[in-house]
Symmetry: C2
Subunit: 420 residues, 2 copies
Amino acid sequence: MQLERAKGTRDLTPEEEILKSHLLDTLKKTFELYGYNPLQTPLFERLETFKLKYAGGEEILKEVFTLKDQGQRDLALRFDLTVPFARYIGMNPNIKMPFKRYQIGEVFRDGPIKFGRYRQFTQCDIDIVGAKSLLAELELLTLAQETFKQLKLDTTLKINNIKILKALMRKTGIKEENEGSIILTLDKLEKIGKEGVEQELNQKGLEQEKIQELLSILLSKGSSQQKILTLKKILGENEGLQELEFLLKKIPNLVFEPSLARGLNYYTGTIYEGHLKNSEIKSSICSGGRYDHLISEMLKINRNFPTLGLSFGLDVILDAIKLQHKEEQKTVTKVFVIPIQTENEALKLCHELRKAGINTDMDLLTRGISKNLDYANYFKIPYVIILGTDEVKKKKFTLKNMNTGKEKLFTLKNLIKELK
Amino acid sequence: MQLERAKGTRDLTPEEEILKSHLLDTLKKTFELYGYNPLQTPLFERLETFKLKYAGGEEILKEVFTLKDQGQRDLALRFDLTVPFARYIGMNPNIKMPFKRYQIGEVFRDGPIKFGRYRQFTQCDIDIVGAKSLLAELELLTLAQETFKQLKLDTTLKINNIKILKALMRKTGIKEENEGSIILTLDKLEKIGKEGVEQELNQKGLEQEKIQELLSILLSKGSSQQKILTLKKILGENEGLQELEFLLKKIPNLVFEPSLARGLNYYTGTIYEGHLKNSEIKSSICSGGRYDHLISEMLKINRNFPTLGLSFGLDVILDAIKLQHKEEQKTVTKVFVIPIQTENEALKLCHELRKAGINTDMDLLTRGISKNLDYANYFKIPYVIILGTDEVKKKKFTLKNMNTGKEKLFTLKNLIKELK
């Protein structure tokens, strides 16, 4: 038997995990600066939960991994973090509002495998429940920009509003019951291009004339302000446009993109997507929007749960960060201790260094010096200490800088100072 | 339809996640001090992998969640982190040794649900591959003790050696092919008691006389040294006893427990388990041992992969930490800003505080002061700033300490200094 991973999955090596760990720390720190608290839901849910109205939708349900427990209950691995979050709020409807949470975790889709697309991937969501004010949008978009600044990623945040799209469709004479389906197709603009979208809208029964009218407006060129003017002429007073203008005024870097749509049909207001500038990575690195009906629909009660969310694609962000770094960090270890018949003293030295907070490793195989230096070199450990009986006697330690090759003698106290 | 979680799963609330996050940070920091690097494997594997010799064993395979992908491939949610780790090494046999990694992640067992037992739980494993020296045992056991010191948990580490158990069984006249099965029963001592073990060994066909002989030795009272003396008299020279004596000499707090066995049959040498002292929690909080054959068995090649591992039960450790804390931290937020018709200025103030690294939240609902104070109180946010037009004019900020109720006036600079 050949040892293999399950199809579409991967291991993260120490190099990749070290990088991912830095990324997660930055994200968590930034979210917490804005008052978001962590929450965790299970990796699988009852299949029924994902079949709820607005939750999955047919296209996603096809890609859900299903399983049964010993009691023959139908379960499913989660395909996103939004539905489990809505389920959590639904089960805790009296939670203090606004409830601001972030969640970082694995999600699963049993779909076709492409380069950079896996069947298990990491999502990172922040959401606010119970805030209908545009202050929520303002906060989440500011937070998105701050996050990318912290990650040193040059990003464009595109914004649109479902209310504008819907008003435009009504204006074009499209029936309300078809709106959702048409928005799903519009979301594919980037993926299948203008012609692809035209074709799909045609297949969905939309007249050629209406398709042209809709797309010509959505794809009009110009600044955010020019686009707003165009749409104002067509739509007149419109709530979506007002919301948009408020946000554009407060956050000058936002880009209004009338053709921006989202492939999930639970959005009700502002929607947004982040893209890298000048990068070979073309797919979005974050996206989200306002979904005011999802939770009430789940609960089937007549109470509002205005909700706004933002989801970061951690895998694509990791790829972007990798492109920035020339060299990967292969180990967390800062100094490697090589005992030459001084095992006990080496153990003591390691203990002192670790106590001082210095990541320390030592030879566990009683190998020779050159093999140990090879090992340290391979992992690019920055410092090495070779500990002979002479050093032990004199209570001095030779620190070898593996980058420069230079050696220097230190007392324990100064050694710790140098390595800190 | 009732909203529910999948049976045997749970959500972690912000309070619990904040605590867990502190715990994980401590663990990772400690592991990295000892030169262990992070690694991550997928949450599901091919079912075949878990069916490999030494991997699961029948009792565990019964509790494995199985699933299929769209290509009808048989998959399974991982039930531990050891088998996937062995699979990783098996697929990367030329990795630089010793390879020291830690992995923290969710594992799944479709078993009966009891208080504190879930179908999804968190494991935290550290392992060394490629070190047959007892220095590896020394390091891992020291690391275990250091971890518990960092977590302020008073713990007993019990140690035993499979070689001692096997020599004793041979001495008692037990056939080699029955050894594994008998060790599995011995592991249940704590769970089903002496009588239960006697009964099960009897069912497995072991003669009453041999059962009594075996148990009387394994359960003999006395200090570690006394027990070693007893066993030396019975077994004579024994590798397991020698290894044990080396470790007991180096780590004085270890307790030799001859009846300690492990419920997995891949262990080959030193085994250990950690228990809380003076605690209502009786189950082990960490365990592990040396398993030198598992990886070579998987690879079916004639090469040694001496391996040593230690696994922490994160959920039980979290329970233990909860018992220590009288009050849970409900939010990461340090200061809550309440604007009184000063929205724009409040946003600016939040920006400054966040820039200084202070976790800041603000009212997003334009509620009145008393409702906002209730909100801050509920979450036990330590500080509140009420920002009126007067404060904005004077560029002074009133900081309310929510514990003492006292208020004090600060400039922005001093405000930041006070909150840092």
